[in-house]
């Protein structure tokens, strides 16, 4: 379908020092504070973090659904933050979103055929027969029978089926890049694997690049080439999936990995599991944002904000005292 080229030097998506803030009751919420990321063509980048750490906001800010305070989002060389109106809408068609709640992301009063055809109508494909054919093709690709599905309403489907429909809608315009915002969190465990496999299959078939946002480390490990760990609006660590899971460099990553339950009743949970809640993003701690819960923190962590530094080949951590 699309080009399956070797990873080129130029990343498909480059997020550069992105800052997103919003205002609640006169207070500023620092949702994303200076995040930089590269995603190469054909790569899957997993983005993990606790709830409220800004990972969904980051995903939406990439599409300019939330305005960025500063920083740049370069998609295929075009700065999305500088775009407005029609050019931005055109560019958005190459980037698609898949949401956590598949049922809420389908309009309850529109038929599945219309919902999946909507991107085509917006893109200006006028011929209804052509649209119908494209819709049927993509529905079959995600494992649904077009003849049975097209005339029905979203509430007639299960969560897993709705997620398939959402994936079909995201794929129908043949995009380059898909942001999956916790696509399996709302689904039954038995359905998760199906949807993840479907995403993998579609990635190969349509030559996609994925940003996979999740809080479930097992899911992220299964699908990602590289993983980025986010804490309170900042990146802690970025590295190749296997390497990062085997040898975490940032104390927070290590802590997350320790918190994965082991399927053995005799194994006692580690003692060092994080105490308390993450601090409020309205008043983040000075210096390193993780220092309030970090076992290794000292005066330097409070004074100086750590930058992402290379700790191993292709692995970066934002910590003054990395574990490796």
């Amino acid at each position: 379908m699309m080009q399956q080229s070797a990873p080129s030097a130029e990343p498909l998506l480059k997020v550069d020092d992105l800052v997103v803030e919003y205002f609640v009751g006169g207070k500023t919420v620092h949702a994303v504070s200076g995040v930089s990321l590269d995603i190469a063509r054909g790569e899957t980048l997993g983005l993990v973090g606790e709830s409220g750490c800004g990972k969904s906001t980051l995903g939406r800010a990439v599409l300019q659904l939330r305005p960025a305070v500063s920083g740049k989002v370069l998609f295929d060389g075009n700065d999305l933050t500088a775009m407005r109106g029609d050019p931005l809408r055109k560019m958005r068609q190459r980037v698609q979103l898949i949401f956590q709640d598949p049922i809420a992301s389908l309009n309850p009063r529109r038929r599945i055929g219309d919902i999946v055809a909507e991107p085509l109508v917006i893109a200006g494909i006028k011929d209804p027969d052509k649209r119908r054919k494209m819709v049927c093709d993509v529905l079959s690709a995600v494992g649904l029978d077009p003849a049975l599905v097209i005339g029905r309403l979203p509430h007639e489907f299960s969560g897993g089926q709705c997620q398939r429909i959402c994936i079909a809608r995201a794929l129908v315009l043949n995009p380059d890049f898909i942001i999956c915002d916790e696509p399996v969190s709302a689904l039954d465990v038995s359905i998760r694997a199906q949807i993840l496999n479907l995403l993998e299959e579609m990635k190969a078939r349509y030559g996609l690049t994925l940003l996979f946002i999740a809080h479930d480390l097992a899911v992220v490990k299964a699908v990602s080439d590289r993983v980025a760990v986010m804490y309170l609006g900042r990146l802690c660590e970025v590295g190749p999936s296997e390497q990062l899971f085997a040898k975490p460099a940032h104390p927070y990553t290590a802590l997350l990995l320790e918190a994965i339950p082991v399927p053995d009743p005799d194994v006692r949970p580690a003692e060092s599991v994080a105490v308390g809640e993450p601090p409020s993003p309205i008043a983040p701690p000075s210096g390193c944002r993780f220092r309030t819960r970090c076992p290794r923190a000292d005066a330097r962590c409070a004074a100086e904000m750590p930058e992402l530094r290379m700790v191993a080949p292709r692995q970066y951590a934002a910590c003054h005292y990395p574990l490796t």
């Binding site: 992301s105 917006i122 494992g143 007639e156 897993g160 496999n197």
Partner: protein, 290 residues
């Protein structure tokens, strides 16, 4: 890349189930009554009934007879034809005034709920002012200034209905525009007008329509009250409210003169409320699934 063990099982999509949507006797009775009243009002001119304004001083307050099915009023005018012509006024005002509220208020509410910001503040503030104003006094003042006519009455009642429709539309839009399908449409590159018309309107229109039917009922009553006070349509045109008002003078001699138009109004208002309620309950897609 790891592949998970579970294979893609073909999910069985069950064959469409025909949903039995039972409306109940009351609903059909209500629909029947509305259709009857509307038909009579529309064809009043061609029906073989006496002129509603033709007076017959010898037949004042005549009882039921073959000539006058429901008798005559205090000026010897045929009660049946006055009721039918009165239905015209009640229905025209009752349907047109909420229509103004529905279109203007609905549009304002959707825009306010979707775009938020200063526009919302202005709209909500404006309608709050309108709501805070005592409506009866406003109607009296404007009628006194512009003169009594059906058109003026409809316009005033319509404008007074705007805040309520605006609030319903805004509240519904507010909750809907946070839903992910709206964000999905934005992410697809849909324009604002497309999101408003294709994604939001189909979801907002039903609660608004149910509210519209309620508005019809309320407006019929308000028009009746105004006519009762002699501020509705000018005589000799009959309206249910003015008929009740005129019948009040002879309550002891001929109570039916006040009672008949009151029953007509009661049944019509009840019918509109019933239909509105049933439609709202039935067109909710999630309830339909149960």
């Amino acid at each position: 890349m790891a592949t998970l063990e579970l294979d893609l099982a073909e999910e069985a999509v069950s064959a469409p189930v025909r949903k039995g949507r039972r409306f109940g006797m009351l609903f059909w009775a209500a629909i029947g009554w509305i259709v009857l009243v509307c038909a009579l009002a529309i064809f009043a001119g061609v029906l073989p009934i006496p002129d509603p304004t033709a007076m017959d001083m010898l037949e004042r307050r005549a009882p039921y007879s073959w000539e006058h099915w429901l008798g005559t009023d205090g000026l010897g005018r045929d009660e049946v034809s006055r009721l039918i012509y009165g239905a015209r006024i009640s229905l025209v005002v009752g349907l047109c005034a909420p229509m103004i509220g529905l279109t203007v208020g609905g549009a304002l509410g959707m825009l306010a709920g979707y775009f938020r910001g200063r526009f919302e503040t202005l709209t909500v503030g404006g309608t709050d002012v309108l709501l805070a104003f005592p409506p009866l006094i406003l109607v009296l003042a404007i009628i006194a200034f512009l003169g009594q006519s059906i058109f003026n009455l409809t316009c005033i009642l319509g404008v007074l209905g705007i805040p309520a429709f605006m609030r319903v539309a805004r509240a519904t839009t507010l909750t809907l525009s946070r839903r992910e399908f709206v964000i999905a449409a934005q992410a697809l590159g849909a324009s604002h007008s497309r999101i408003l018309l294709r994604e939001l309107l189909p979801n907002v229109i039903l609660p608004l329509f149910a509210f519209f039917l309620l508005g019809v009922a309320v407006t019929i009553v308000v028009e009746g009250s105004l006519s009762f006070l002699g501020l509705g349509v000018p005589p000799p045109i009959s309206s249910w409210g003015s008929m009740i008002g005129e019948g009040r003078e002879s309550l002891e001699v001929a109570p039916r003169l006040a009672f008949l138009p009151a029953v007509a109004m009661f049944l019509t208002v009840l019918a509109f409320n019933l239909v509105g309620d049933t439609l709202r309950a039935i067109t909710d897609p999630r309830q339909g699934a149960l």
